[in-house]
């Protein structure tokens, strides 16, 4: 899950959809509430809602040319409001912030297949994503189907959010996608470095945050995000001080 988050996050950050991507994760909340009400595993309810939300974003963006960020902002607000109404108590807290409970077999299987699909997508489509990032018109001349690529990207993003909801919850899963990628972007000199570092940072933050959560008997989501953020701040301070020392030497 962490590797998938790191990889998909690289393109979210480079496509400047960091805030929008974070907001998209909140769309899962009504799906979780409905799943609990229908006695279905919440992960599947969340995944279904996320896929629907991503499809809605893609469809509205394609038809109306309204910016992705605006559409996601509207949809996430509605989703958060509806989800808060139909989910309550401890279920709501767990849905929002995650927990460190042992995974069930369906969750393990979903996690492995889902993460595999996201990783394969990024590795196979990274060339098309790179070209589309630089110029959509240039991408057209290379035969890239931009509509299809954008739809699949949004669905893979939604799948990545669904994979991590158990540990980080609806409010914080977007952060695991964005923060390791932002940290990696800061340190990388080329695309492969960024993809590798983002995956490593995401795994490290998940492992460290989950361990802390077990030790302190707290929710996992906030501790994973805090660990990830500390990593980001350290790299910022390191690169800033390197630049400052270089500047002072002149």
């Amino acid at each position: 899950m962490a590797v998938a988050a790191g990889l998909i996050g690289c393109f979210a950050v480079m496509r400047r959809m960091a805030l929008a991507g974070d907001a998209l994760s909140h769309v899962a909340l009504p799906g979780i509430g409905l799943a609990l009400a229908l006695h279905v595993h919440p992960v599947f309810g969340a995944a279904a809602m996320l896929f629907f939300g991503a499809l809605l974003v893609w469809e509205i963006e394609d038809r109306s040319h309204v910016a992705t960020e605006t559409i996601i902002g509207v949809i996430f607000s509605v989703a958060l409001a509806i989800g808060s109404m139909i989910t309550s108590g401890e279920n709501l807290i767990e849905a929002l912030f995650g927990s460190a409970d042992v995974l069930s077999w369906p969750e393990v299987l979903f996690g492995l297949i889902g993460a595999g699909a996201v990783i394969v997508f990024v590795l196979i489509q990274k060339n098309a994503l790179v070209v589309a990032l630089v110029s959509r018109d240039i991408a057209r001349t290379t035969g890239v189907d931009l509509r299809r690529l954008n739809l699949i990207y949004l669905q893979m993003f939604a799948l990545t959010v669904a994979l991590g909801l158990r540990y980080l919850g609806v409010l914080l899963m977007g952060s695991l996608i964005i923060i390791p990628a932002a940290t990696a972007k800061h340190l990388s000199r080329n695309l492969n470095q960024m993809l590798t570092l983002a995956a490593v940072f995401a795994m490290a933050a998940t492992a460290a945050g989950s361990s802390l959560a077990l030790w302190l008997h707290r929710e996992t989501g906030p501790l994973i995000v805090a660990t990830s953020t500390i990593g980001f701040l350290i790299t910022v301070l390191f690169t800033t001080s390197t630049h400052l020392r270089g500047f002072l030497r002149r």
Partner: protein
Amino acid sequence: MASKVDGEAVDNVLEVSDLGVRFGRSQIFKDLSFSVRRGTSLAIVGPNGSGKTMLFRALLGAVPVGGTFRWAPGVRIGYVPQKLDIARDVPITGFDFLRARASLARASQDLIAQSLASVGLSPEIAAEAIGKLSGGQFQRLLVAFALICAPNVLLMDEPTAGVDEPGRRYLTELVHRLQHEKGLTVLQISHDLAEVCRCATTVLCLGREHIRIGPPREVLTPDLLQKIYGAPVAFQVSEI
């Protein structure tokens, strides 16, 4: 595509008929009809806002159009857009960008070195993040990208914008050489009327109210240019 002009068969790589583009309530241009013969160069000139870039985007299928256009079968388009706004901190290097193109076309990665050499970009420059390249370096990279998969048609939107004078001459001569050696068809948007007059086979003058197409010396007359640009336009053609 074979068609006949004055009873003679001609090989057109592009045929445009009554093409029009609307942006919201604004009609960018309409009733545009022309054809481009294989191996020739069409220069597109006109004032800012007359729809030159929009014409290219229409021919690439990026915007909805009225009317029709047809590319000949087997056309491979290399497109060099106008200046792009790239974030400075995106860690995509010139090599990443060119590798992506070669991979998408399932072409050999060896073509990258050839492509860089043809535009005079060193491997050291190509290893830099594209956001950190100068305007001229990035334009050369875009030309290298367009050339990687051996296009037979080049669409170039002010390819020398932001390039210094030696670089501008280098790129201009490169395109001419490729056109003659490989029989490329070139469609180029340009503000350099002297260069257009010297090098283009045909000129399309795109103005808000007037559209004319024909050989440079017939079309780039002071009277027509005044109508197209809305102000007197003078230029000098050197024979160098």
